[in-house]
């Protein structure tokens, strides 16, 4: 009996469409600005080019989500992230600090303005991620563009060993995809808000035989969960003082599956910033770090007190 079915992903198509859309927006924008520049050489009185609003968020990470930000061209960043076990184990696991820890190490690079690429390895199921982030639109100081819009795409590969081939009959079964549109706005010096709908695609789902048969008597294999999963994240930043921010976040699953519906994630954290360094310490429900897995598989429930502690540390270099 084969307990898996494989459906090839459709989500890259959706991603492509979104990506092109953003690309067009950016292209129009660029056209516009060159137009202004040319006009400026002819007539010095022409209006100045709109400037983007800086520091909507101060890091590419916003707890378990990506923020709308892409660092300046040529930036290189290393990420070190930890998620501890859930605190409900109490003293026996020292509130999760001695329980199942998950670690991610990542590297991010910005080869051209507004485009970031990255690679990371997460301890859970030895998951490699390759990802791209593209800041298509940026909120401007004169409010000509009222929001910043960024696309984030992430492909994850589960590379844990499977000697008998029972876990993953096909290599493509190891893949998960995550596509997200991030929309953010900064209000004054102290507040920023972000809304980010996402689509997760999982290449392989659990199957079951529910007793249905086809006309020629074969059993029909049902699927416990759909391959595609929509979700939306709401996040915000409150500046407490010049180097300290409060970060708040809520992730809501949208797609309804037959069973194993993932739980929402509620999280809050403090962020300390100095040039090149960011430290975020948080309490939340997500433990996988990999975005597709967090959105599709989260079984920690805040209603049952399944909170965990985590931190993100980053080091940024600019050349």
């Amino acid at each position: 009996m084969k307990a898996h079915t494989t459906l090839y992903n459709r989500s890259p198509k959706a991603a492509l469409v979104l990506f092109c859309l953003l690309g067009c927006l950016n292209f129009l924008n660029a056209q516009d600005s060159t137009g202004v520049k040319e006009a400026a050489t002819e007539a010095p009185a022409a209006p100045k080019k709109s400037k983007p609003v800086p520091n909507t968020f101060e890091n590419i990470w916003l707890l378990d989500n990506q923020s709308v930000m892409v660092p300046t061209k040529g930036s290189f960043q290393l990420d070190f992230m930890h998620r501890f076990g859930t605190i409900d184990g109490g003293y026996q696991s020292l509130f999760g600090l001695f329980g199942g820890i998950n670690i991610r190490i990542g590297a991010d690079y910005v080869p051209r303005e507004d485009l970031m690429v990255g690679l990371s390895l997460t301890e859970y199921n030895l998951t490699w991620e390759g990802y791209v982030k593209y800041a298509g639109l940026k909120q401007t100081k004169d409010d000509k563009i009222p929001v910043s819009v960024t696309y984030y795409g992430n492909m994850a590969v589960d590379t844990r060993s499977d000697p008998t081939g029972g876990l993953y009959p096909h290599g493509s079964d190891r893949l998960m995809f995550f596509n997200q549109i991030i929309i953010a706005r900064k209000f004054g010096d102290r507040f920023s808000i972000q809304v980010a709908p996402s689509l997760t695609h999982v290449n392989v789902v659990q199957g079951y035989y529910g007793g249905d048969t086809t006309a020629d008597g074969k059993s029909v294999l049902g699927k416990e969960m759909k391959h595609d999963h929509f979700a939306i994240a709401f996040s915000g930043k409150v500046k407490l003082n010049n180097t300290l921010n409060l970060l708040l976040n809520y992730d809501q699953p949208i797609t309804k599956h037959l069973t194993n519906n993932p739980n929402p994630n509620l999280s809050a954290g403090l962020e300390i910033n100095t040039t090149g360094h960011t430290f975020q310490v948080l309490v939340g429900n997500y433990r996988y770090i990999t975005p597709s897995r967090n959105n599709y598989y989260n079984n920690n429930d805040y209603k049952d007190g399944q909170w965990l502690i985590g931190f993100n540390m980053t080091r940024l270099w600019n050349w």
């Binding site: 800086p54 040529g74 180097t243």
Partner: protein
């Protein structure tokens, strides 16, 4: 007699050498700013909003070396080979906005270049405005 004069001379030379070394460490080498940059006008008005921006950026990016009030007494200052200077003094305050902007953007030795780290030019101008508040 002779040995006494010799040892006095030796002592004096050592003294001079040591003193001149300590002084040479504090004596800043001249930092020439291209005239074009020094003459650049500050496009950002020094109002409350700009001072606030400058202050936040100072705490995040500069205070670790230059100190909270720009006295050069930040927590990292002791590890630097050049003294970051006292920004309340005329040596710094006498410079044009354009010159300060240039030095912050380009950096030199221990002083990092901030033009990539602070992508918003207006924020650097706000830092210049904030440095003016250190003036005695």
């Amino acid at each position: 007699m002779k040995t006494k004069t010799l040892s006095v001379l030796l002592l004096m030379t050592t003294f001079i050498v040591v003193v001149s070394f300590t002084f040479s460490k504090q004596q800043p080498k001249p930092w020439n700013v291209p005239e074009k940059n020094a003459k650049m006008a500050n496009p950002i008005k020094s109002d409350a909003a700009s001072i606030n921006t400058g202050k936040a950026s100072w705490a995040k990016n500069c205070a670790s070396c230059h100190g909270k009030m720009g006295k050069g007494d930040g927590s990292k200052a002791a590890k630097l080979t050049t003294h970051p200077g006292d920004f309340s003094a005329a040596a710094t305050q006498g410079q044009s906005d354009g010159a300060l902007y240039y030095k912050i953007s380009e950096g030199r030795d221990d002083m990092p270049a901030f033009k990539k780290k602070i992508s918003d030019e207006d924020e650097i101008w706000s830092l210049v405005n904030y440095i003016r508040t250190f003036k005695k």
